[in-house]
């Protein structure tokens, strides 16, 4: 695909970078909070406007040549290896840019209310802007190295923001866990990049997809390996089995961070990467199967954990993991456009859910345990309404955003040439769980009777969650200590909620099912057409009639309805039943509550052996005895030699002259001997 040059592109990531630098450097000393958030939100608004400008420029172009590019500077050029810092915006990255900058802007706005009074206000916005910069590099990069730069950048910002309130050890530990887990994935990403270069001689996306368009490539084994390694990177970043463990812990960060980084944007990087490299994954069938099954397994696995969690953010976190699994199912099934569709709708409703939960958490004095909520509907009408809309969207209730995208994924999981009934079953079960646990949140948080916080928890949470910062009266925390009434959040919080809820409600109409309403109904698929043109996986023959799709759709509606009905039965009709069930099925309940003890298994199976091995073998034997010994030997030897030679430097010029004379004699002798 030929791209038109554009000088606008670099400004999109540059604005947040400038914001980050300004706030990071000057924020502490010179900027008032108002200035800090004006800079940060202004940078985001500018980036969002530019993204829209670029988007409309793309819309106005011919579909075949719909791409803009800018070579900002030559970065690495070694022999045939070229990796410039170049940006590339085509329909795929344009949508990502829109999501990142617009949702990013809303979340920045939300943070103004949420982070008010935090002593490190400037630091928060600097990190947030820096994150947006890195994320934009990730999606706009023209080659794998720029993407990797962004990939590492978002990882860094994620680490910084998870541990934002680092004075509490748990937060710092969670940040470290996210960072270390991501290292494993990033290692795979780096190896995959190198392998891809070895196989194709380039790291540029356009060259890669161009080389792989059409006939099957020569070195298929290498490509499969590269695809698998890159998917390992995606597993780390997008929290898939086996590297998902960091994401639930990442909820230790401020809630806007959870919404922006750990729901809407960063965690979808893996999905985007696969879509970007669709040519590679199209040919790497084995890797695609792995993606499909890992995605399906993760979807169900995380959803089951989400069933029993009591921490509202934990439930949403597992939900995110599960939804990401759905996206990978689509990727594995070859439905790249569908996966990107779900990525977008998920960004809408999950950001809305997280921000809604943040609003609730703020109102509830930073208590995150849903058992102390209940009946908040009447206290926080706007939060409730938006949360409800987003919940309907994620649960798959017809005509909300999540319905169309999830339905499409389920169709492809079963009907694609690469699909499998097993994967479809797993995903459907996950959809059932999703509907259930999302309505469980509604029941426990917004409906029923207000249970309220016991005084000791109120006190405990009043102070430490903000790292000792004195947050003001905004957001409804009365510091009275006794009974308090949850209050609706300020407009900076509710406006983003409303916008996101609206998007969650209508966003699905961008991708109406093509099978039922004709090919032109699916705007997104047409939009992505030039990107995925050479990576076309088709549906099996049996699924080519509208009846099959309609039937599947009805089935998934039934599944969602079943989940919702179950939640009503358990939490409305027979509220005592969940407790009884937990007692009756103590073992499975415990397993779920303990999150299948994966963390403990990792601890015992991987971390402990490495720790012990490092301490007992690497440190005490290899390092102390072998390496230190060698170093000391060399050092000691040189020291002795130096001491010996130092004796030669007597300061007596005559001795120097003496050695010169001796040397001259030797030189003469040698000369005579040779000549």
């Amino acid at each position: 695909m030929q791209a038109s040059p554009s000088n606008l592109l670099v400004l999109i990531p540059l604005l947040p970078l400038v914001g980050a630098i300004l706030n990071g450097v000057l924020g502490r000393r010179f900027l008032k909070p108002a200035a800090v958030h004006t800079i940060a939100c202004g940078a985001m608004a500018g980036a969002a406007l530019l993204s829209w400008a670029v988007f409309f420029q793309l819309v106005g172009m011919e579909p075949e040549g719909r791409a803009l590019s800018q070579e900002v500077f030559a970065w690495i050029r070694i022999g045939s290896f070229h990796a410039d810092y170049a940006l590339w915006v085509d329909p795929l990255s344009a949508v990502m840019c829109l999501i990142i900058t617009n949702i990013g802007f809303l979340i920045h706005l939300y943070s103004v209310g949420y982070m008010q009074g935090d002593p490190s206000y400037y630091r928060f916005f600097a990190y947030l802007n820096l994150f947006v910069f890195a994320m934009l590099n990730l999606v706009m990069g023209d080659n794998l190295l720029v993407m990797f730069f962004g990939w590492e950048g978002v990882g860094l910002c994620s680490y910084l923001l998870i541990g934002f309130w680092f004075s509490e050890e748990a937060n710092a530990v969670a940040g470290k866990k996210a960072f270390v887990t991501n290292r494993v994935g990033d290692f795979g990403f780096a190896l995959g990049t190198m392998l891809l270069f070895a196989a194709l001689g380039t790291v540029g996306f356009q060259e890669i997809n161009h080389q792989l368009a059409g006939a099957a490539p020569p070195s298929k084994g290498l490509l499969e390996a590269a695809a698998l390694l890159l998917f390992l990177g995606a597993c780390g970043k997008s929290a898939q089995i086996p590297l998902y463990v960091w994401l639930p812990d990442a909820m230790a960060g401020p809630t806007p961070v959870s919404a922006l980084i750990h729901a809407a944007t960063m965690v979808t990087a893996g999905v985007y990467m696969i879509a970007r490299l669709n040519g590679l994954y199209f040919h790497a069938e084995l890797a695609s199967q792995v993606v499909l099954w890992i995605g399906a397994a993760t979807a169900l696995f995380a959803a089951t954990i989400g069933l029993v969690q009591n921490d509202i953010k934990k439930v949403l976190a597992y939900s995110t993991v599960s939804q990401l699994g759905f996206m990978f199912v689509a990727m594995g099934a070859g439905a790249y456009a569908t996966g990107m569709f779900h990525l977008m709708t998920h960004a809408f409703f999950k950001a809305c859910l997280f921000l809604g939960s943040g609003s609730v958490i703020m109102a509830m004095h930073h208590e995150q345990d849903m058992r102390y909520y209940g009946g908040l509907r009447k206290f926080m009408p706007w939060t409730y309404r938006t949360f409800l809309v987003a919940t309907l969207a994620i649960a798959g209730v017809p005509f909300f955003a999540g319905f169309f995208s999830k339905d499409e994924i389920l169709l492809w999981a079963l009907g694609s040439e690469r699909g499998h009934a097993g994967a479809w079953l797993l995903a459907s079960a996950a959809a059932l769980c999703t509907a259930f646990y999302m309505f469980r949140i509604l029941h426990m948080t917004f409906w029923g009777e207000y249970r309220g916080l016991p005084p000791e928890r109120l006190h405990a949470h009043g102070h430490d969650d903000h790292g000792g910062g004195g947050h003001g009266g905004d957001g409804g925390h009365g510091h009275g200590g006794g009974a308090f009434v949850p209050k609706e959040s300020p407009w900076t919080v509710t406006v983003p909620l409303v916008v996101l809820a609206a998007l969650s409600a209508v966003g699905g109409f961008l991708g109406l099912p093509a099978g039922l309403l004709g090919h032109h109904a699916n705007l997104l698929e047409g939009w992505y057409e030039p990107i995925f043109a050479h990576s076309h996986v088709s549906l099996q023959h049996a699924f080519h009639n509208p009846g099959a799709e309609a039937g599947l759709m009805a089935l998934s509606v039934a599944v969602a309805a079943a989940g919702i009905a179950l939640s009503f039965y358990l939490y409305r009709t027979r509220p005592a039943l969940p407790g009884e069930l937990a007692k009756r099925f103590a073992v499975p309940y415990r397993v779920l509550l303990q999150k299948y003890s994966v963390d403990e298994a990792y601890e015992a199976g991987i971390i402990r052996p490495i720790l012990v091995g490092s301490r007992e073998v690497l440190w005490k034997v290899v390092d102390v005895v072998a390496i230190d010994g060698l170093v000391n030997l060399v050092g000691g030897g040189l020291k002795a030699l130096g001491r010996g030679l130092g004796r030669l430097q007597t300061g007596d010029a005559q001795v120097y002259a003496m050695w010169m004379t001796g040397g001259l004699t030797v030189a003469v002798l040698v000369t005579i001997a040779i000549l």
């Binding site: 001795v655 003496m658 004379t661 001796g662 001259l664 004699t665 000549l675």
Partner: protein, 212 residues
């Protein structure tokens, strides 16, 4: 033949003077010994057709330089070196190195003069030239003067800069005290400066003043 004999005689005497300079403990004795060497060398120069150089050797070296050295020895009132003069590790490197060097060179010179080769090698291709016939006026003031102000005028002028630098350096190094003393209104402060260690310690300030 006689001229050859005299040549050897002068050269041997020069070497003897050098040995004397090396071996005699008292600096005055060493200086006088070196003076002998220089005079012998002047004679050798004359026999080699370098009459002007012979004259310069006597005037500049024997006349000026050695007189300066002797004058300083006397000025500083130096006595004999003590017995430690040669008792040093330097002797154990210096003397053997010198012996080896001299013996190797002697063997080489002997073979070369005799026209035989210790062994065939690169050196043999140079050959030992017979003395060339001298052109008219070789080594006279006129011809050397023409060369100095003709072909070699640039090195000649650069040499004068070197001389100037030497003069300035010498004045700077020795004149620091007198400059400082002049500031105190004492024009003849040399003896005082020599005796006064503290004055010498404080010299840099005076030196700067002088340089300014």
């Amino acid at each position: 033949m006689t001229s050859s004999a005299f040549m050897y005689l002068f050269l041997a005497a020069a070497v003897a003077g050098g040995v004397g300079m090396l071996a005699l403990r008292h600096p005055i004795h060493a200086a006088v010994s070196l003076l002998g060497t220089m005079l012998c060398l002047a004679a050798a120069y004359a026999m080699l057709g370098a009459h002007l150089m012979a004259v310069f050797q006597v005037i500049i070296y024997a006349g000026a330089i050695m007189v300066l050295v002797v004058y300083i020895i006397m000025l500083l009132d130096l006595g004999s070196d003590d017995a430690r003069a040669f008792r040093s590790v330097k002797v154990f490197v210096g003397i053997p190195a010198a012996t080896v060097l001299v013996s190797v060179l002697a063997r080489l010179a002997w073979h070369r003069a005799a026209g035989t080769e210790p062994r065939p090698g690169l050196l043999s291709s140079i050959g030992d030239p017979a003395a060339a016939a001298l052109p008219e006026g070789f080594g006279t003031v006129a011809s050397i003067g023409r060369d100095l102000l003709g072909r070699y005028v640039v090195p000649f002028e650069v040499t004068s800069v070197l001389l100037l630098a030497g003069i300035v350096g010498a004045v700077y190094l020795t004149g620091r005290d007198s400059a400082g003393l002049k500031a105190q209104g004492n024009a003849v402060g040399e003896g005082k400066g020599t005796g006064d260690g503290g004055q010498a310690e404080g010299a840099p300030a005076g030196g700067e003043e002088f340089a300014a």
